[in-house]
Amino acid sequence: MLSALVLLYIIATPASIVFRRSLGSLSGWVLVVLPLISFVALCFAIPDVATGEAIVERLAWVASLHLELTLQLDALSLLFALLVTGWGTFAMLYMAQALANDRRADLLFVYMFGFIGALLALMLADGVLLLMACWMLAALFSYLMVGYQYAASRVRYSAQQALLATAGSGFVLLTGLLMLSVVAQSSGVPASDAYNFSALLIAHEGFPSSTLLDLSIILIIVGCLILSVQIPLHFWLTNAIYNPAPISTYLHIGGLVLAGVAVLVRLCPLFIDSLLWSYTLVLVGVSSFCYGAAMALRQYDLKLWLTYATISKLGLLVLLAGIGSDDAAGAIMVGLLAFISAIGALFLLIGTMSRETGTYDLRHLGQMHIAMPVTAWLMLLSACSLAGVPLLGGFLATELLFEAVVRSSLPQIVRIFVILLLALGLALSIVYVWRLVRHVVLAKRSSTLRRKPRESPAHVLFGSGVLTSFSVALGVPGAVWTLVVRNLVEPAAGVVAQAPVIVAMEPGWPLVFSLLTFIPGIMLIRYEQRLIIALRVLPTGQHINLLYDAGLVWVERRAANLAYLLQRSGTRDYLRLMVLAWLVVIAGIVMNTGSTWPTFPEGITLPGFSALPAVLLVALVVVSTVVLLLASSTRRTLLGLGGTVLSVVVLLLLAGAADLALTLLLVAILPGGVLALLLVSPVFRRAGLSPEGGRVLDIFMAVSVGLAMTMLTLLSGLQNPASRPLASYLESAPIPGQSGNILQVVLTDIRSLDTISMLGVLFAALLSVYSVFRLRRQPRTTQPADTEPLSQEGRRYR
């Protein structure tokens, strides 16, 4: 089932590129079906998975390298996959109606679609290989979506930044995971298992603590935290939100950001004993929580407000992943469901509201509950759930969070410190939600709006309504709560804790704490304006952005210098350099392996092969090669070339290799002639390919390359017997369809992977030849209007 689900996306993404023109603006409505199907299919898997069983599907990829693709659906990946696909459905629905009139939007649907598929596969991946492939695919699609309105240089800047941040985080994570598998292999895990998370999880007790393990922990943390936007690596998200609302919604909440948390949570049981892991995550999580809340309080732009609120709530999840106990695992799952659905609903509602009012600025709204009652009230409900108002989903998550912190194994002093910071952050959250209430509902109606806002139709509000009610219903003990907790939350938490987990709200200190935090929050509301002024001292992350810009400029300059240094002479010099380098490498290898001069094995006779004609033909080869090397006219060049090739062909025929003789004849004679004609033509004389000048060097190099090739062939052919697979293939019973033509069988069956790599190389060669010949000849088009450097441009927008 799992591979079918993933395959569906793999097929549908290119297909939707093909059919998008004929579907037009309908494509959004058509494409929404697939996320919905996968969501429903995953829902049917809930009863099986909730018992603790995992559905595992293995696909052999490259069997000879022990590479296989493993898709695993346990309770944890099910929860994340449901979030991704459920989200995908709502976001696609919203996009379909929001962008119905945009004629260029059809490509956007395709990107979105591929993005959902990549994320779904990422959540299901159990191996490093597949995880990385999906991570990079998701990064690519997010780049395409952020840069969708690429005419504006700000969008291009933030798209580039998002790509560098997400793909860069992928490389950091990959390095960390590879180091981890090295650690695992050194403690006795077989190589085929060292790249699979489930196998690592079983074996992780035996990992010796070493510098390499610590380094891998740090790299994994950095990789995940870049993606889940924790300070100080959060700056790219605030830049990336400048695009149509539903895209940023899905992109940042349902998608990428969630992927960072998913990897963090999945790897959490591996490192639970590591102090480095827990202290780093607790520190980063709690400071991101407070910083995000404080920054959200400062914003007037609704999108930025919500972005910082998201950073803040993700900080809580990171903190819990650092604690990693049973209680923390339960709190993570509840927090994911409550916060992510509230944030998602808010993103959709903010998009709806700004479409009606034409602004994202809080100060221009007011009395919205009269103009757009449903939107405004849904917005307030979600925001209250986000802040943790009692009887809503967010409150439950907050309460479980306090419970996890109080019962954690951290030292007393750290626990008190964390609880105080959490209280501060929660108080700030209450103030920033109060600001939303004050500006959207209580403030006077603004006269600056371009038109009178009207309530959106029901199908627009459907998605946000469902999400809001889910986030609210999670807080009320009842049917929904029991259903969700028993079937989704507890099994998923059980996977993280590796033991059965019971999630329930218990009366006690944690409940008192979470209720008590309301008092400073409500008290702070009175000092809102002073608080905003006081919070201006906080850094915005601009310094890090400046650092990023400077780094980018530095890299560009170094690259330009390097290119200038390396690419100053002509093709002929590069060719000589390459051949010389190749010769040096070959000589080094031969010397290092200590190979001796190959001896011709005894007892090999070739029927019909006599010495005299062979010696004559070899002499002919030598003579015609000398003629070729010394040729001064086209005619002599052709004569020399033809003589060489023909004598080799006859030699091969004498030795009984008719196949090779045919190949050489067909491949060498005609193109050789054409090539020789072309080489002496004026075009190449200008391009620096002609055989003029440096002829002695060329002769020397030609002779040495020939000798080196001969040596290599003799060494590899005579010293080792025929390689195993080929020999066994020949010895095995006749296989249907095979013939005496072993060359074709080797090409298409035994070494098919090499063949397809060769095809790829050939294709790349064709593209480069085309670009050299075709693109150079076209007249240079005029430069686009804004040519100022992007990094300068981006610096202005904060």
Binding site: L662, P671, G737, G740, I756, V769
Partner: protein
Amino acid sequence: MKNQRDTSALRLRNAQNLLRWGGIVLLLLALLLLLRSFQAPGNAIISGVLTAQALVLLALGAGEQLAQRIFTFNYIAVAAVGFFAAAIWGTIVMLEGLPFFHALWSELSLPLVGTVGTPVLLALAAYVVIAGVTTGCALLFVEAWRTTRAGTAARVRRK
């Protein structure tokens, strides 16, 4: 004088005929080598290269219209299609749970080709890529050569 011009025109026509027929024969030979490649000497790579040679000869020897068509054909697209087809045929066997590019042979036997299996498809795809790539590159060279020749001839005439 008139007689001399006639002779050169006749010579040109003969050369073109030779090129054209040579091209057609080579093309047929290439197809034969490809189809028989699982039975007899020959393989996808040679037949691809041979196809390129045949097309170059045809382009030089054919009339204006056909030459135009051969020169402006999109060889990159052909090569790309072949490449993706090769990759996709490698993944088809994965549906059966077999490793990437595992060879599967059917019972079906075609008169010229022999038994049909996934390696035959890979050979076809490889032929398409190699023919596309080599023809594309060769025609670029030929075009560059022709334009330079024309330029040189014009310069010579001007002198």
